[in-house]
């Protein structure tokens, strides 16, 4: 059934009581920020933050050929992960576009979970169901589950204080189903911030228990609730793609600058186009830009045109923002071939004015090296 009313997550009242500025995102009323995007951004880089990401979608794939279905739908190679591991991947289209980007979690070769973008839940479920030629059970349980992300260098200390055992022994991109205080928890070593972190999936009725417990135990670690505003600046500093910006129905994983997640050994939907793009190269690609104006300047935003130093139109910004960690404007931009080399000077047009910018290596932000003990 299709309905257009805005959805609330199970934690909605808590956000309102925390004084969050709420806004609509992907059909959900979500916290954009609580105190300040910059403060929340810094809390995740230096301490620990809690995100309500219950808008995200969860699909469960089961059946003797569940592995085959996942391999057929996605462009990364599912053989590269074992039980209890997960991988970032994409659903390519046969025409060279992308249906969505997602994480595939392997419980065993007959049982998988997929976590997909909130804005694409219906489209993705239709896609997976339509291409389910392996007779798997595919369940969309997005409305039944809540997701709370814990991200930042103090994550392990917080989760262990809350009661999770041996968190520091769990690597990123591993996951497990476990129980805590007699409640079922799906504990995933994943995130969208570039920091150490976990995403914790629980039934909606347990969301309040999880959030309140982490907030309370987290006091000693300076935990802060984090809104979608800081989630976006954190992911952009890491150059992580956002579907609808870097990726869409007309952009392939290679055009989005994600060759590491394209493994064209196995057969899958859209493999022909990706193999051809690997051989012939792509004509446009997402690259990173940093504004190099001497004075503080306007930040680049989605859709801003980009010009070469000779004034040629070479593409446009897909995501742009002021970067709290770098204290300057940064952008991902889809640029035509010939303008991908770090160090090249280009210009971004912002409100009619052309700002100097430079192509840079990604990610924009790298964690400062820990000081060695003297």
């Amino acid at each position: 059934m299709e309905h257009h009313s805005v959805k609330h997550t199970a934690l909605h009242t808590r956000h309102v009581n925390l004084g969050a500025r709420m806004g609509e995102f992907a059909g959900f009323m979500m916290p954009l920020w609580y105190s300040s995007i910059k403060e929340e951004h810094d809390a995740v880089r230096n301490g620990v933050g809690l995100f309500d990401l219950s808008h995200m979608g969860e699909f469960f794939i089961n059946g003797p050929q569940a592995f085959d279905l996942c391999q057929y739908l996605t462009c990364n190679d599912v053989r590269r992960i074992g039980d209890g591991q997960c991988q970032y991947t994409l659903f390519p289209t046969p025409e060279g576009g992308t249906v969505d980007d997602l994480i595939v979690y392997q419980q065993n070769p007959e049982s998988y979970m997929m976590v997909v973008n909130a804005s694409n839940i219906d489209k993705d479920f239709a896609w997976v169901t339509k291409h389910n030629r392996f007779d798997c059970t595919v369940e969309n349980q997005s409305d039944d589950y809540s997701l709370v992300a814990v991200q930042g260098p103090n994550t392990d200390a917080l989760l262990e204080a809350f009661g999770f055992k041996n968190i520091s022994a769990m690597s990123q991109f591993t996951w497990k189903r476990t129980k805590l205080h007699n409640r079922s928890v799906i504990l995933c070593g994943t995130g969208y911030t570039g920091e150490r972190g976990f995403e914790i999936i629980v039934a909606n009725e347990d969301a309040g228990w999880l959030w309140d417990g982490l907030m309370k135990v987290g006091e000693q670690f300076g935990v802060k609730p984090i809104g979608l505003g800081a989630r976006d600046t954190l992911r952009l500093e890491m150059a992580y793609s956002l579907y609808g910006n870097e990726l869409d129905d007309n952009t392939s994983a290679l055009e989005a600058g994600l060759p590491f997640y394209v493994r064209t050994g196995p057969e899958f939907i859209g493999v022909d186009v990706l193999r051809r793009q690997e051989q012939e190269g792509v004509t446009r690609k997402v690259c990173g830009l940093v504004v190099t104006e001497e004075k503080r300047s306007a930040a680049p935003r989605h859709g801003a045109p980009v010009y070469s130093s000779e004034g040629e139109d070479i593409g446009e910004v897909t995501s742009g923002s002021f970067s709290p960690s770098l204290d300057k404007g940064i952008a991902l931009a889809s640029l035509k071939k010939g303008y991908w080399e770090p160090g090249m000077h280009v210009q971004i047009e912002i409100r009619g004015r052309r700002m100097n910018a430079e192509i840079v290596n990604l990610p924009f932000y790298r964690k400062p090296k820990k000081k060695s003990k003297s």
Binding site: R21, S36, I37, R296, A298, A299, R301, F322
Partner: protein, 122 residues
């Protein structure tokens, strides 16, 4: 206390002697969030009521600042170019954006006083 007048679009004009100080209201800075950049007009520039005379950017949003009435810029608060966050901490005080001359004082009648602005549905 000096007279302060407001627009529906969340600018204020604060009277001080014969001049007026213009900026965005405390409500506006709160709605925008962390302000990262301000683009100010040139001293001497003239604007008609409703013209966009400056831009304020926060991490997530870009907002135009409108001339509440027809005015001429006497001076701008150029310290905001390096410290735009002052608008967050003191929007209606040291976060002023421009000192202006009001061209036609009769136009001030169209603006809201404190009580009317407080009562406005924001």
């Amino acid at each position: 206390m000096s007279r302060i007048l407001y627009t529906k679009t969340h600018e204020y004009l604060r009277e001080e002697g014969s001049a007026w100080f213009l900026g965005i209201t405390d409500h506006a800075q709160e709605a925008l969030g962390d302000i990262t950049f301000v683009e100010l007009p040139e001293a001497g520039a003239e604007f008609s009521a409703g013209d966009e005379l400056a831009t304020v950017e926060s991490v997530k949003a870009v907002a135009g600042v409108m001339a509440p009435v027809s005015l001429r810029i006497i001076e701008v608060n150029s310290s905001l170019e390096d410290a735009p966050e002052v608008i967050n901490s003191d929007a209606q005080g040291s976060g002023w954006m421009a000192k202006v001359e009001v061209m036609d004082p009769a136009q001030l009648d169209s603006l809201m006083d404190q009580a009317a602005y407080d009562a406005m549905d924001k």
